[in-house]
């Protein structure tokens, strides 16, 4: 089996990565951090859901989902670091792994079929 430089299985890394990206708030977090200098913290929950149409109740709900579900999942494999107070997120030691995949997807967005409309992947991304 192919191994990563630190001894992990490459196949396992891919399975883990794709599973973790199988939730829109998690993709949005990685996308937001990609657009941010490497050492900068981003406030939550806005870094995970940037849609201005969301009401206060929606933000409360996504904050709960982030705290109990999405942030621990991404942090467990060191894609991100997060803090409760102030509620914020920054890149983790293995951020490069999801970042590489999200970046490629963003750069290829114009090749997606209509059935995979871009805004289902993450929130609209101005730079692509």
């Amino acid at each position: 089996m192919m191994e990563t430089p630190d001894g992990g299985g490459v196949q396992d890394r891919w399975d883990q990565l794709l599973q973790l990206l199988a939730a829109r708030p998690r993709r949005q977090l990685i996308s937001s951090l990609l657009d941010t200098p490497a050492d900068q913290r981003l406030p939550l929950p806005s870094a995970a859901v940037s849609s201005p149409q969301l009401g206060e109740g929606d933000h409360d709900r996504i904050a709960i989902e982030l705290r109990h579900q999405h942030l621990p999942a991404l942090a467990s494999v060191e894609y991100i670091r997060w803090e409760r107070d102030p509620f914020c997120v920054r890149r983790g030691p293995r951020f490069d792994e999801p970042a590489a995949v999200i970046r490629v997807l963003q750069e290829s967005a114009d090749q997606f079929p209509d059935t995979l409309a871009r805004d289902g992947f993450v929130e609209a991304h101005e730079s692509s």
């Binding site: 599973q19 973790l20 199988a22 939730a23 829109r24 409360d60 709900r61 904050a63 709960i64 989902e65 705290r67 109990h68 579900q69 999405h70 621990p72 999942a73 467990s76």
Partner: protein
């Protein structure tokens, strides 16, 4: 509702309701007590499985149908129902005395019984609770946890022989028996005897059902004297 995405919020809301508080004020993070991606996979699976875990002050059970039970009481968004975990099956229906008796029967058998799909690696659809003693894995590890019986447990040097026995069984529409080495979760090897048979839908072999006996205390040589199921039960 997207069950996979919403289930963690439902669990947090249920715990908050049980404590008479709001979901935002839960004093701990759910992920400290359970891997949230395991719950996601559970509710994304088309199975009749459930997962139970402890958090401070409560026992939580989540089913593959996205039902949430706190201390045995079902929670649905905005309300609690009086159906307790002891009165239902994992699929959400009330469990009859016969079903309870059947579950106890499976658990107390001196073997592990299973049903798997007739696909590569034989993905498990059902396996008795005592599989932990044999394999080191809980049933959910096979059903939602990504552990594949054929790929992960059967010794690589024995796979071809096991495949041949099952293929011949399907071709002849007869039961099979085969001995092989099983690799447990803690990387030990056990000799086992598996007796099974294919289930057909017309001519299509859909599933395999069977029983696996641990031969650790018997040894493969003595086990050779076990009669083949073809001789014991020649008809299906």
């Amino acid at each position: 509702m997207n069950r996979r995405n919403d289930i963690i919020y439902e669990v947090v809301a249920a715990l908050a309701a049980a404590d008479g508080s709001d979901p935002g004020s839960l004093g701990y993070t759910l992920a400290d007590y359970v891997d949230p991606t395991v719950i996601e996979r559970l509710v994304a699976s088309n199975t009749a499985s459930e997962l139970s875990f402890q958090v401070p002050g409560h026992e939580v059970t989540v089913t593959a149908d996205a039902e949430v039970f706190i201390d045995g009481v079902e929670y649905r968004t905005g309300r609690q129902s009086p159906v307790s975990t002891s009165e239902r099956t994992v699929g959400g229906d009330r469990e009859t005395p016969d079903q309870l008796q059947l579950q106890r029967f499976f658990t107390n058998l001196p073997c592990t019984v299973y049903q798997s799909r007739n696909e590569e690696g034989w993905p498990i659809e059902f396996i008795s609770g005592n599989c932990h003693e044999l394999t080191g894995y809980e049933p959910n590890a096979f059903i939602i946890g990504g552990i594949n019986f054929g790929f992960d447990l059967i010794h690589p040097d024995d796979c071809e022989r096991v495949n041949a026995a099952v293929d011949q069984s399907i071709e002849n529409e007869t039961p099979f028996s085969v001995m092989y080495r099983l690799q447990t979760a803690n990387s030990t090897e056990k000799w086992v005897l598996e007796i099974g048979m294919p289930l057909f839908d017309g001519t299509e072999p859909l599933s395999i059902v069977g029983a696996i006996v641990d031969l650790s205390d018997v040894g493969p040589e003595q086990a050779q004297s076990v009669p083949s199921p073809g001789r014991v039960n020649p008809s299906r």
